[in-house]
């Protein structure tokens, strides 16, 4: 199992979501973060210039079985790219164990729905 963390543009979320669904990845969490990176925009508040580098981003956290890592990464890569600075990053992190709270299932089993697994 791996955790795939992706930081994407807010405006790309719908497309990424669709691409993930098309790739069969239907379980994940996401939240708003602010990104510090190359993309910058000056702000002025009451005459004081400030905060030249934080931009709103969405962070996705997707835990997948090893065999699904590649297609997940590809789905995100393809759907979230604009080619302009600030497109974001994808990181892969090892996961040691996973539990489904509802059933107590552990391991790979906890990540897909029995019967529905492709």
């Amino acid at each position: 199992m791996k955790k795939i963390e992706a930081i994407i543009r807010k405006t790309k979320f719908d497309e990424v979501n669709e691409a993930l669904h098309d790739a069969g990845i239907e379980f994940y969490s996401f939240w708003d973060v602010r990104g510090v990176g190359q993309a910058r925009e000056g702000r002025v508040y009451r005459g004081i210039v400030y905060d030249t580098s934080t931009i709103e981003r969405i962070k996705l956290s997707i835990i997948v079985r090893d065999k699904n890592v590649e297609k997940t990464v590809n789905a995100i890569l393809e759907s979230s790219r604009t080619g302009e600075i600030g497109d974001g990053k994808i990181f892969i992190i090892p996961i040691e164990e996973s539990y489904r709270i509802r059933t107590g299932e552990t391991g790979d089993e906890s990540l897909y729905i029995k019967g529905k697994e492709e």
Binding site: T11, D14, E41
Partner: protein, 404 residues
């Protein structure tokens, strides 16, 4: 007229002026609430600008274009910087103030329809043109005693003269701008929910409150039995239509989309208010309620039509609320007027005048709107770049976020 009667009228129209002025935060809250948080500072700045520009320019010249001596029934004779201490039924400066806040209402309607993608400098330019040309000229046709007035066209407080004008210009703008990025994906309309419906609801309640200045104030007097009866009647019809519009939109959305939608019920209340504005003085309470109910139903279908069929992206529903229901309400006068209305045995002649008025104002506002936006588009440009639109107009156009 007796001195105290004038004083009474003057108080009434001034209080009404204040109430109509207070519709500005109503519009601001509705428009901010129904759009995304990344564009909140932008839309609030626009609302501040259009009211301020309106206040200044309508005094400088707009008022006389609308109410100056009529040139062939088409336009008033302009004169600059009026400072007139005359008194008619009330002080002339009170009239200037009352008409100013109406002009600002027309201008502010546009900002909703073109929200979340318009360049700020372009916005300032077309707000100016609306305030000093588009609104006062068609306004002159009716309230300045122009040709529509002579035709017998009725529009008591401005369903067409104020609300539709703003909305048809907005329609032209929304068309020329095109939809927001992400609004239509593969030809299908996507939902782009407003960021704060609490602001939306607050705004609608404020507008409802302000409308008690807009409609009863348009009686332009409160002294004497006739005025007394009229303003009470108008307050009643206004309130019933608003309530009818809210409930009708709520239940229509409930039946059609399985859920009673707050955002549509809020628009429905406004639809009822806009629709009753033309006839609030001459329809019965029952007629007002029916007009409001129909307006609420129309609203839901109109929003769907523009959004999903015509694919005109109007983030706050301004075209359906102010345009379509402004037209409907004006026509409804031809049906529901207790004197002259078709349903009251008055024949079709009033309805026909109403139809001519609605059509003429549509042609004027939509036509000049198209030309105006076309000129802006091919000169300084109308729309922000894709990146600015995606990251938010607040940061890029204003350097400030609304929320921190």
């Amino acid at each position: 007229m007796e001195e105290l009667s004038i004083s009474i009228n003057n108080i009434w129209v001034l209080v009404a002026t204040f109430l109509v002025m207070f519709m500005q935060p109503g519009f601001a809250m509705v428009e901010a609430g129904f759009t995304r948080s990344k564009n909140t500072a932008n839309i609030l700045t626009k609302n501040l600008v259009d009211f301020s520009v309106g206040a200044i320019l309508f005094w400088i010249i707009g008022y006389t274009i609308m109410y100056g001596e009529s040139i062939a029934g088409l336009i008033g004779t302009p004169s600059l910087f009026i400072n007139d201490n005359g008194i008619g039924d009330y002080a002339n400066k009170t009239d200037l103030m009352f008409q100013t806040v109406f002009a600002a209402t027309a201008a502010t309607i546009v900002s909703g329809a073109v929200a979340e993608r318009t360049k700020f400098n372009a916005y300032i330019i077309f707000t100016i043109v609306i305030t000093v040309l588009i609104y006062p000229i068609s306004g002159h046709w009716k309230w300045g005693g122009g040709w529509l007035d002579q035709l017998g066209f009725l529009d008591f407080a401005g369903s067409t003269i104020v609300h539709s004008v703003g909305a048809w210009v907005g329609l032209a703008g929304a068309i020329m701008l095109g939809p927001r990025h992400g609004k239509y994906v593969k030809g299908k309309a996507k939902a782009i929910p407003g960021h704060n419906l609490a602001f939306g609801a607050l705004g609608v309640f404020i507008l409802w409150f302000g409308w008690f200045g807009f409609n009863p104030g348009s009686q332009l007097g409160a002294a004497g039995t006739e005025n007394t009866l009229a303003i009470a009647h108008i307050a009643l019809t206004t309130n019933l239509a608003a309530a009818g519009g809210a409930m009708a939109a709520l239940f229509t959305s409930w039946m059609r989309y399985k859920r009673p939608a707050l955002s549509l019920a809020l628009n429905g209340a406004l639809a009822g208010l806009v629709a009753i504005t033309a006839g609030c003085d001459i329809v019965s309470p029952g007629g007002a309620l029916i007009i409001g109910i129909i307006a609420g139903i129309i609203l839901v279908f109109s929003v769907e039509l523009f959004d999903q069929v015509f694919k005109v992206d109007d983030p706050v529903g301004a075209i359906s609320v102010h345009g379509v229901n402004g037209a409907f309400g004006t026509l409804a006068v031809g049906l529901f007027a207790t004197e002259g209305g078709l349903f009251y045995g008055g024949g079709a002649s009033l309805l026909l005048s109403q139809l001519i008025g609605v059509a003429a104002v549509f042609a004027w506002a939509f036509g000049t709107g198209l030309i105006l936006f076309k000129i802006i588009k091919s000169t300084i440009g109308l729309r922000v770049s894709r990146r600015i639109e995606e990251e938010g107009l607040d940061v890029y156009e204003h350097g400030e976020n609304a929320y921190n």
